[in-house]
C-alpha cells in the first residue's frame, strides 16, 4: 500500500520514539492481552498494514470480500434489526411480553423456549418436572404456537427461533401457525437456529446422534430452498461456543468450520451451492474486549466470502455473504453490582454495530439472576436505540476501516482461524473432531485458563476480583416464574389431546416414522403432524425410535 521509502522512515522513527521514551515506561515488559489472551502491541502504525491491498483485502462495502460490510449503505439504508430474545412461563404471558417489546420499538421477534421444549420433552414428561417455563416459554403443540403469536402477524414481522435438537419439529409448528394466519410461505421471513453441530460442541441441547441430525437439517434445507426463499433455515452459531469459554479466534474458526460442514452436507445431498447457500446465516457473540470483537466480525465476512467463492466455487454474490445476528455476551455479566451489566452490554452492543451486524440482541442487567423483568428488558432495548439514534456511529459505513490497529487485528484473526481450519481438516473434519472431543476439549481448556487468570488477578472483572462491595445488598426486582405455570401447561396439553382427532394424529405419526426410516423429506410430514396437534414429545419419540439418542462422553 505505502511506498517502501516511507515505510523505512516510519520504522526508523518508531525505533527512535521507543528508545526516547523507554526509561519512562513503567510497564515496558508487561504483556497486554485481549480477554482471549491475544497479545496487543503498544502502538500500530503503517508498518502493520503495509502488506494490505485495499481492493483485495478490504474493498468497498457490499463488494467482495465484504470486509467493510455486506451492503453498500449498511445502516444508512436500513438499521440493524433490534431483535430481543425473549420467552418465559406460558405462551400467553410471553405473547404479552412480545407485544410490549414491539410497542417499545423492537423490530424483530426472537423466541426463547424452556428446557423441556429445547430437549424435545412435553411439559408433562417426568424429566420436565420443575423445569416448565423456567428458562423460556413452554411450547408443546401448535396450540401453544397459536397463543404465542396471537395478534402478531407473522407475515409482517421476521421471527427468529432458538431451537436445535428438535428444530425441524418446532419449525413445523411455526409453519403450521403461519399457514393458519394465512401467511404465504414464500414471503415468510425469519430464522430457525437449527445448528446442531455447535450443540455437540457447546450448548449441549441435542436429541439424536450427528448423522441423523445432519439429515434432518438437509431436509429443512431442501424444503426451505423450495418453498421459503426468504427464510434462514439455519443460524450457524458461535455465540454458545464463546459462552462455553472459547477464545474469540476459536469462536470464529469453529463457527465457520461448522458452516463449511453444512455447505458440504448440502453439496453431498446433490443441491447446487447457489440454491441453498444464500440462506445460510450466522450468529456471533459480542464480548467485552471491544476491538477484538470488531476485528472478529470483519474477519468472519472476509473468510466466508473467500472460502465460498474460491474453495466452493459459489457464483452468486448472495452465496458469499456472511449475514449475522449478534447477542451481547451473557457470560461477561455479573450477579454482583448488576447495574454494571447495563454498561457492559452497551459496550458489547457498540462493538457489534461497529462490526456490521445485521441483527442484535442486548442482554438485560438482571439476567445473571433470572429472566428479564419488563423494566430491565426495556433498558436493554433502549441501549440499541441510543446507539442507533444518538451516537452517530451509524452515519457512515465501517467507521474503523483503515485503522492500523483494526486492519492488523482483522488480518491476525483471519490467519489464526485458518490455522484451525488446517488442524480440523488434518483431524478428519468437523464430525470426526466432535466424536473425538477436539472442540470440546479446546473450549474447556480455554475456559479453565481464563478462570485461572481471574483467580491470579491477571484478568479483572469489576465487582468480582476487584472493586468488590462486601455484603452487597441487591436492590433489584427479580422475575419469578409463577408456580401455576407447570399446572397450566399440563391442563393445556390434556385439553389439546382431548379436542384433536387422535386417529389422524396416529396416522400422521406413522407416516412420519416411515419417511424418517427411508430417504423421504421429513419436513412435510412434520408439518402434517403439527397441523393435527401432535405434541412435540410425541413427534420426538417417533424420531428417537428411528434415529436413536445421543450420549456424550464426559470430557472436562
Amino acid at each position: 500500500m505505502a511506498e517502501k521509502s516511507f515505510l523505512d522512515e516510519v520504522k526508523k522513527e518508531r525505533r527512535q520514539w521507543e528508545e526516547k521514551h523507554s526509561t519512562k515506561n513503567n510497564n515496558k515488559d508487561k504483556k497486554f492481552t485481549t480477554i482471549s489472551g491475544m497479545e496487543i502491541k503498544n502502538l500500530y502504525t503503517p508498518i502493520d498494514t503495509a502488506d494490505i491491498n485495499y481492493f483485495r483485502d478490504i474493498n468497498f462495502p457490499g463488494e467482495y470480500p465484504y470486509t467493510r460490510g455486506i451492503r453498500p449503505t449498511m445502516y444508512r439504508g436500513r438499521m440493524w434489526t433490534m431483535r430481543q430474545f425473549s420467552g418465559f412461563a406460558t405462551p400467553r404471558l410471553t405473547n404479552e411480553r412480545y407485544k410490549f417489546l414491539l410497542e417499545r420499538g423492537q423490530t424483530g421477534l426472537s423466541v426463547a423456549y424452556d428446557m423441556p421444549t429445547l430437549m424435545g420433552y412435553d411439559s408433562d414428561h417426568p424429566f420436565s418436572k420443575g423445569e416448565v417455563g423456567i428458562c423460556g416459554v413452554a411450547v408443546d403443540s401448535l396450540k401453544d404456537m397459536e397463543i404465542l403469536f396471537d395478534g402478531i402477524s407473522l407475515k409482517d414481522i421476521s421471527t427468529s427461533m432458538t431451537i436445535n435438537g428438535p428444530a425441524p419439529i418446532i419449525f413445523a409448528f411455526y409453519v403450521a401457525c403461519a399457514e393458519k394466519q394465512k401467511a404465504s410461505l414464500q414471503n415468510l421471513r425469519g430464522t430457525c437456529q437449527t445448528d446442531i453441530l455447535k450443540e455437540y460442541m457447546a450448548q449441549k441441547e441435542w436429541i439424536f446422534p450427528p448423522q441423523p441430525s445432519m439429515r434432518l437439517i438437509v431436509d429443512m434445507m431442501k424444503f426451505c430452498t423450495q418453498h421459503m426463499p426468504k427464510y434462514n433455515y439455519v443460524s450457524i452459531s458461535g455465540y454458545h461456543i464463546r459462552e462455553a469459554g472459547s477464545t474469540a479466534v476459536q469462536e470464529l474458526a469453529f463457527t465457520l468450520a461448522d458452516g463449511f460442514a453444512y455447505v458440504e452436507a448440502g453439496l453431498k445431498a446433490g443441491l447446487e451451492i447457489d440454491e441453498f447457500a444464500p440462506r445460510l446465516s450466522f450468529f456471533f457473540n459480542s464480548h467485552l474486549d471491544f476491538f477484538e470483537e470488531i476485528a472478529k466480525f470483519r474477519a468472519a465476512r472476509r473468510i466466508w466470502a473467500r472460502h465460498m467463492r474460491e474453495r466452493y466455487k459459489a457464483r452468486k454474490p448472495e452465496s458469499w455473504l456472511l449475514r449475522f445476528h449478534t447477542q451481547t455476551a451473557g457470560v461477561s455479566l455479573t450477579a454482583q453490582q448488576p447495574e454494571n451489566n447495563i454498561i457492559r452490554t452497551a459496550f458489547e452492543a457498540l462493538a457489534a454495530v461497529l462490526g456490521g451486524t445485521q441483527s442484535l440482541h442486548t442482554n438485560s442487567m438482571d439476567e445473571t439472576w433470572a429472566l428479564p423483568t419488563e423494566k430491565a428488558a426495556q433498558i436493554a432495548l433502549r441501549t440499541q436505540q441510543l446507539i442507533a439514534y444518538e451516537t452517530g456511529v451509524a452515519n457512515t459505513v465501517d467507521p474503523l476501516g483503515g485503522s492500523y490497529f483494526i486492519e492488523s487485528l482483522t488480518n491476525k484473526m483471519e490467519q489464526e482461524a485458518e490455522k484451525y481450519f488446517e488442524e480440523i481438516d488434518k483431524r478428519g473434519g468437523v464430525i470426526k473432531c466432535l466424536e473425538e472431543g477436539y472442540f470440546q476439549k479446546e473450549i474447556a481448556q480455554a475456559a479453565y485458563r481464563y478462570q485461572q487468570e481471574l483467580e491470579k488477578k491477571e484478568k479483572i472483572i469489576v465487582g468480582i476480583n476487584e472493586f468488590v462491595v462486601e455484603n452487597e445488598k441487591i436492590d433489584m426486582p427479580i422475575l419469578k416464574i409463577d408456580e401455576s405455570t407447570e399446572k397450566e401447561q399440563l391442563d393445556s396439553i390434556k385439553k389439546v389431546k382431548e379436542m384433536r382427532d387422535n386417529d389422524k394424529v396416529k396416522r400422521a405419526l406413522e407416516d412420519l416414522k416411515k419417511a424418517a426410516g427411508n430417504s423421504e423429506n421429513t419436513v412435510p410430514h412434520l408439518i402434517e403432524c403439527a397441523k393435527c396437534y401432535a405434541t412435540e414429545g410425541e413427534i420426538t419419540e417417533v424420531l428417537k425410535s428411528v434415529f436413536g439418542e445421543y450420549q456424550e462422553p464426559a470430557w472436562f
Binding site: M115, L118, G130, K204, Y448, E455, P553, W555
Partner: protein, 139 residues
C-alpha cells in the same frame, strides 16, 4: 499415606451449561482431588448410585436451570435411603439465597453462586471431608 479426597460432580436435570462444572473438575484434579465427572442429564438416581459405587466423599451438583428445589431434595432423600448420609452434598449454579437457606435446612452442604473461586470450593471440600476421613482412619 493420605487417602485422596474423592468427589463426584454431575449435572442433574435438563440444564446443559457445563462450563462451570468442568472448570471446577479441572481445578479439583489439579489440586490433587480425585474427580469423577458424570456429565449431563443425570437423574438423582443415577447420581446417587454412582456416588455409592464409587465410594465418594462428596457429591457436587451444578444446576443453572432453576430446577434446584426439585433436584436437590430428591438427591438428599436418595442418599438417606442408600445409607449414604456421610457423603457431603454440595453444589452451585443459579440459586437464590432464600433457596440456599431452605436447602441447607434439608441437609445440603454449601452452595456456591456466580463469582465463587475454585480455590474457595476446594478449601470447603477439604475442610468438610476432614472429619469424615478421620473416621475411616480408625479402622
Amino acid at each position: 499415606m493420605e487417602k485422596k479426597i474423592r468427589v463426584l460432580l454431575a449435572k442433574p436435570g435438563l440444564d446443559g451449561h457445563d462450563r462451570g462444572v468442568k472448570v471446577i473438575a479441572a481445578a479439583m484434579r489439579d489440586a490433587g482431588l480425585e474427580v469423577i465427572y458424570l456429565g449431563l442429564r443425570q437423574t438423582p438416581e443415577m447420581v446417587v448410585e454412582a456416588a455409592v459405587q464409587e465410594d465418594v466423599d462428596a457429591v457436587g451438583l451444578s444446576i443453572l436451570s432453576g430446577a434446584h428445589m426439585t433436584l436437590f431434595p430428591q438427591t438428599v432423600e436418595l442418599l438417606k435411603q442408600k445409607r449414604a448420609g456421610h457423603i457431603i452434598l454440595f453444589g452451585g449454579g443459579i440459586i437464590p439465597q432464600e433457596d440456599m437457606d431452605k436447602l441447607e435446612k434439608l441437609g445440603v452442604g454449601k452452595l456456591f453462586g456466580p463469582g465463587t473461586t475454585t480455590g474457595e470450593i476446594i478449601e470447603y471440600i477439604k475442610s468438610a471431608t476432614k472429619g469424615r476421613r478421620k473416621e475411616e482412619a480408625i479402622f
